[in-house]
Amino acid sequence: MSSADGRQPKIRLDDIHKTFRWTSKGKQHVVPALEGVTFDIRPHEFLSVIGPSGCGKTTLLRIIASLANADIGKVLIDGREVTKPGPERAMVFQAFGLFPWKTVIDNVKFPLTTRKVPDAEATRRAREQLRRVGLDRFETSHPHQLSGGMQQRVGLARALATEPDILLMDEPFGAIDAQTREYMQEELMKIWHETDKTVVFITHDLDEAVLLSDRILVLSRGPGTVRRVVDVDLPRPRWEYDVRAHPNFAPVRHEIWQLLRRDLQAQTEEETTGGD
């Protein structure tokens, strides 16, 4: 399935550039989003991407998913360049992205049916993932009948349905209340332990990034470039103890916080002095 060679990166980002250009009311807008992001993501690692708002985190993830194209640069998965979305990468969306007219199980089956998996097989695999996220009793419900946390578990089950090597998660718990979020983080940890996926996890929540990740990629203020890569040296499994109380937690958190704070200050100053 995946390359056994630990040295080959699972995902290689090679000099990714992206600039958004559009015209509105006769005015040309040019906003550079990413400027030369080069980075290797290791097999089976949990990588968080963090950065100030507007740093191109989501754009980077969409490029990895091939939902957007880089202007310059390439994305390599297991050493091969990708240009189209594939079943080896699956996305979890911030706003869940469930089809409101489909039942829970049909939502989870969706990535399988679009890829012509026979219905019985698709149902079996969807049920397996629904059981994994603990929603097997809600197969026939519709998304609007579920809470936000439950909806995102459906989103997660759907992403797992094609048994991808890579999970791409775009602030998946950002729209979920704090208590449910903690629970979801733990669930995700467990699923990650069980399934051995490579996870790229976008967040703007410092604690969340430290809690979950092996490494944290800090992007600079837009246009995004790699500002620093921070290793998180905390023993796993992390749901078995109070991670925030571990002596390694605060230093890592502090390091990232300082990086982000400087960018945030610069951004605020720019905004108040009227720059656009």
Binding site: P85, M91, F93, F99, P100, W101, F110, T114, H142, H144
Partner: protein, 261 residues
């Protein structure tokens, strides 16, 4: 407990709302009957005469045949409007080129009252079935097309992205799996509006273009000063409109359930 209380309230409310209805009906039909009996029956026949008239033309009379002929016209005209309206709505809602090509013409036609087009339709299509179908079609076409257009144009970008992420890679796939299901509630609402308009179009077509159907019956009885039969022949029209609209409302609600967020 709470449900019992609310059920009780609903029962009382229903009594309250039915009361005025009954009273209004009594006043309207009572004064109609009285007025008809003392006045000129050509101007306003009493309700009783209209009801017996309705009975006469229904059983052994021309009404069933006329109704059947009208329904046939309605069906053909509405089906055409449904097909073409949905198709054009998708085209101009999804493709800006199609919108630029067809948009101005459709807008111009929408702004033209159908009645004003009747002489032209008569000229082009004659008194036969075709002309009448065109009138019904024109009446039902626009609400269907416009609703389909709106639904398709406002296709949810986020769900299109979800589709792309999970393997929808063709335009047909996007339409079938994302755009049309998302637009379905609006499209169904268009059908509901369309069927009501089609009934009106049907009556207009038959009154002005003659040749069979309820409209012709209405014109005949009008010309013969049989006002009792005239009113009796008009009655099926609003009934048809209400019943068909309700049927489509049911179908529409079936596709709306997931919108009750």
């Amino acid at each position: 407990m709470a449900t019992e209380a609310s059920a009780g309230r609903r029962l009382r409310l229903r009594g309250l709302t039915a009361g005025p209805h009954l009273l209004a009906a009594l006043v309207v039909f009572g004064s109609w009957e009285l007025y008809g009996r003392v006045g000129n029956p050509v101007v306003m026949p009493p309700v009783s005469a209209v009801l017996t008239g309705l009975f006469d033309i229904t059983f052994g009379g021309p009404l069933p045949g006329a109704l059947l002929s009208s329904l046939q016209l309605l069906f053909v005209g509405f089906a055409t409007a449904l097909g073409l309206g949905t198709l054009l709505g998708i085209l101009i809602g999804r493709y800006s080129l199609a919108n630029r090509v067809f948009g101005p013409f459709l807008n111009a036609m929408y702004a033209t009252p159908d009645i004003a087009l009747l002489p032209l339709i008569l000229l082009w299509f004659g008194f036969g079935m075709t002309g009448r179908v065109v009138v019904v079609f024109l009446a039902a076409f626009f609400p269907i097309m416009i609703n389909t257009y709106s639904g398709v144009r406002d296709a949810p970008a986020d769900l299109l992205e979800v589709g792309a992420a999970f393997g929808v890679d063709s335009e047909l796939g996007r339409l079938r799996k994302v755009i049309l299901p998302a637009a379905l509630p609006l499209i169904m609402a268009g059908y509901r509006l369309g069927i009501g308009r089609a009934v009106v179009g049907m009556a207009v077509a038959e009154v002005y273009l003659r040749l069979g159907g309820l409209g012709t019956l209405i014109v005949q009885y009008g010309a013969a000063f049989r006002t009792d039969l005239l009113i009796a022949a008009i009655l099926p029209l609003p009934l048809l409109g209400i019943v068909l609209t309700k049927v489509f409302e049911r179908i529409e609600n079936h596709f709306q359930y997931w919108r009750n967020v």
